[in-house]
């Protein structure tokens, strides 16, 4: 088990291990764990162009940034995961939406700031994102529709990542408990 799977560092005694018959099933899966993790982007994006990927990476990290508590979407590899899923997808409509969505963000940035999103200052980038996030509840423009999809996908990718589950949420479950359930008895 990695530290992450057992944050308290508790280990089961051999005797308990034998009792926990289930461990026999679970162990092989745990061992193969890290190998199955989405590898960090080594060969460049598979679906997005380089500039598109850089834009997505920045947008995701603006939605879920690094703060004092935990790393953000960039550190969690959100853009790489989304790139992998879109490259793998058979849904061409979905693929087109992402391309045109990113283009719409750049177009809006040019309209507001006179330059592409990544060329803008930090404040200018936030201003663009604030503008398209304003329509979150009732999106109308293509950029506003794209923000919905972008945020939903970023949320899903981040909170299913190692960083999201362990560093940010500090999720305590998916571990063997020592004979007692956590919580309170019904009285």
């Amino acid at each position: 088990m990695t530290d992450a799977t057992n944050p308290k560092g508790e280990t089961l005694s051999r005797r308990e291990m034998l009792e926990v018959t289930a461990a026999a099933i679970a162990a092989p899966l745990l061992k193969q764990g890290p190998a199955a993790v989405q590898p960090a982007l080594q060969t460049g994006p598979k679906f997005f162009t380089g500039p598109e990927f850089a834009l997505l990476d920045e947008l995701s990290d603006l939605i879920i940034p690094t703060d004092a508590h935990s790393p953000g979407a960039r550190a969690a590899g959100v853009a790489a995961y989304l790139d992998f899923r879109l490259a793998d997808s058979l849904d061409t409509e979905q693929q087109t939406k992402w391309r045109s969505g990113l283009a719409a963000v750049d177009a809006l940035s040019k309209e507001l700031n006179g330059q592409a999103f990544l060329q803008g200052s930090a404040d200018q980038r936030v201003a663009v994102l604030t503008r398209i996030a304003a329509g979150e509840q009732d999106p109308k423009t293509p950029a506003e529709h794209f923000f919905q999809e972008l945020k939903r996908s970023t949320v899903r990718a981040y909170y299913t990542s190692k960083v999201g589950i362990h560093a940010d949420q500090q999720y305590k479950g998916n571990v063997y408990q020592r004979g007692e359930f956590a919580g309170f008895d019904a009285k």
Partner: protein, 596 residues
């Protein structure tokens, strides 16, 4: 990967011999029939339409999302039907789909890769007629591989419901008839829960209960003042272990049990293969043949009695016949009705056991969808706690139409719910904005929500039914079911009340209601279909007697949910098994006397 070596399943079973009984289906009902009959010495052949899957490898209950390349999603080309697709379109839902594989909505819960081989491919298994989300699992064990595990008893408020409120029919049995068999099921399979001494939700012989978290305790205490009960989820899960079963582990409170669809790969949660079928195979009296699609119950042309089952091999498409002295149908409520209707002969022109014309009718289930989400303000910003690893959170038993009489509807509903931290903060989808504040909001609120949704009784009505489509066929050329089934006004008014009552209970407990959903999900969504071959004392208005024995054909038994006379609002699995135990005990005793 399995703990205990399981006897190989005999694909090449001996079909020249006549078995004492052939059981069609391997879910809760078929598994129980096999258990009861084999332990009484009968030689049983079980036919399962689906595969024997390496189930632990399918379920991977403890796999972290990030250890899966698609975070649990099925490969490209798989698609799970959505609420909109079910409601905008009409069945067959997979017709003309551009996806290679289409699953029922259960595949869309965020773990479709874990169930893609358990659920049927809708492309191969079409049906027609009215809107219905028909969830089917063709695999050894059927839907017990992925069931929700809420294990409840019925009471005489259900068995004698007509006496109580005048609607429908009473069951031909009372609680006293079934109580000893509920006890047997509890002890043989294990059930977790907390005693409440309620007449309308009798206690089981419980193993150790799971625990409640803070928000749930707060709601329980508040409900006491209203005369209502919140009890820890009564789960068909062994929390103390079962000395007599070497295939199952006790529950260690591990796993993200809230990950649905999800089975339990240590089999602490009941499933039919490890709970019933493998132990039955150990008796030496059970032969199991997977990949066997039963399409007709064969009858003796002279006596009209059942003589066996005709089936197709799902892989080779070859036809076979299995011979037996008794035929036991346990293919699930709708598939069982389909099989009876498919079994037409000179003596039984309307289908086997259908002289009453009631096969396929009185189809009922549970209606669900309405529910409330609440925010417990005191829990905002609190450090994370372990609230997962439980088969479920809580259950609030029915409180309507017990002593009171509601003006808008008869019968009742219960709530299933839970609160606290889970592996995925679903509320993040609804949190507004972006950036550091958004991230903090998600974190601070992760353990502060509590949710519950109602499950209500759908009235059994003759006019709600299935029959065979005269034209449509499945991938094996077998006629499909056609649905004629819709919720009525009683269900609609009950659903309106669920939201009102849910809100009232949360508010009384000081829980801020942040979401109230009054949308009814489509017919079929609860996966609790019942009633298509109901029991009764009158052969003119029922299909089976109180022992689930056909009125027309004495050596034919239908032991699954199709036998239920009314749906109750309590989840059916435990009742299905208690009834099957009772009926098969009766059958074994009659068999030995030479009476069937």
């Amino acid at each position: 990967m399995t703990l205990v070596r399981v006897a190989p399943l005999a694909q090449d079973v001996d079909l020249s011999k006549t078995y004492d009984a052939v059981v069609v289906g391997s879910g809760a009902a078929g598994g129980m029939a096999a258990h009861v009959l084999t332990t009484r010495g009968l030689k049983v052949l079980m036919l399962e339409a689906g595969k024997k899957l390496p189930i632990e490898q399918e379920l991977r209950s403890m796999q972290w999302p990030y250890d899966h390349p698609r975070r649990g999603d099925a490969p490209p080309g798989y698609h799970a039907l959505s609420f909109n697709e079910y409601t905008i379109r009409t069945p067959p839902y997979a017709k003309n789909s551009t996806f290679k594989h289409v699953m029922s909505y259960v595949g869309g819960w965020g773990g479709s890769d874990y169930v893609k081989n358990i659920l049927v491919d809708e492309k191969d298994h079409p049906y027609t007629g009215t809107t219905y989300a028909w969830v089917r699992a063709r695999a050894l064990g059927g839907k017990t591989n992925i069931w929700g595990r809420l294990a409840l008893r019925l009471s005489d408020y259900d068995f004698k419901a007509k006496t109580h409120d005048g609607y429908g029919e009473d069951w031909p049995i009372s609680y006293a008839d079934l109580e000893p068999y509920y006890d047997k099921v509890d002890l043989y399979l294990g059930i977790s829960g907390h005693k409440e001494n309620l007449p309308h939700l009798p206690d089981s012989l419980f193993q150790r209960p799971t625990k409640l978290n803070l928000a749930e305790v707060q709601l329980r205490e508040s409900l006491k003042k209203m005369g209502r009960v919140l009890t820890p989820y009564r789960a068909g899960v062994t929390t103390d272990g079962l000395k007599h079963n070497r295939y199952r582990s006790k529950c260690y409170g591990r796993g993200a049990c809230g990950r649905r669809p999800g089975g339990c790969d240590i089999h602490a949660a009941f499933d039919s293969p490890t709970g019933l079928i493998y132990p039955a195979m150990d008796t030496g009296n059970l032969t199991v043949r997977p990949n066997s699609i039963a399409h007709e119950i064969l009858v003796d042309p002279n006596t009209g009695r059942a003589r066996g089952v005709a089936f197709l091999d799902s892989e080779t498409r070859k036809s076979y016949e299995a011979k037996a002295r008794v035929v036991i149908v346990a293919a699930s409520t709708l598939e069982s009705a389909r099989l009876l209707l498919l079994s037409r002969s000179r003596q039984h022109p309307n289908g086997l056991g259908n002289s009453s014309g009631h096969v396929g009718h009185n189809f009922c289930e549970h209606v669900m969808g309405p529910g409330v989400t609440g925010l417990v303000k005191d829990l905002v910003g609190k450090p994370p706690t372990l609230d997962d690893g439980r088969p479920g959170g809580f259950y609030i038993p029915r409180f309507r139409n017990l002593k009171d009489r509601q003006p808008g509807f008869v019968r009742g509903y219960g709530f299933e719910g839970g609160g606290g931290f889970s592996i995925f903060p679903g509320h993040a989808f609804g949190a507004k904005g972006f950036g550091a504040q958004f991230k903090k909001d998600v974190r601070d609120h992760a353990g502060a929500f509590i949710r519950m949704g109602g499950f209500g009784e759908v009235l059994a009505r003759y006019e709600n039914y299935v029959d065979l489509d005269p034209d449509a066929k499945d991938a094996w050329g077998i006629p499909t079911l056609r649905f004629h089934y819709q919720f009525g006004d009683n269900e609609r008014r009950m659903c309106e009340d669920m939201v009102v009552a849910g809100r009232e209970m949360f508010e009384a407990a000081g829980i801020e209601v942040v979401g109230a959903d009054d949308k009814m999900l489509t017919e079929g969504w609860s996966i609790h279909e019942l009633g298509t071959a109901r029991m009764g004392n009158d052969p003119k208005t029922s299909v089976l007697n109180q022992f689930q024995q056909s009125h027309d054909v004495k050596n034919l038994f239908v032991v699954d949910g199709s036998s239920h006379v009314s749906a109750s609002c309590q989840n059916p699995t435990w009742t299905i098994m208690a009834l099957a135990w009772r009926s098969c005990e009766y059958l074994a005793s009659e068999f030995k006397k030479g009476n069937v």
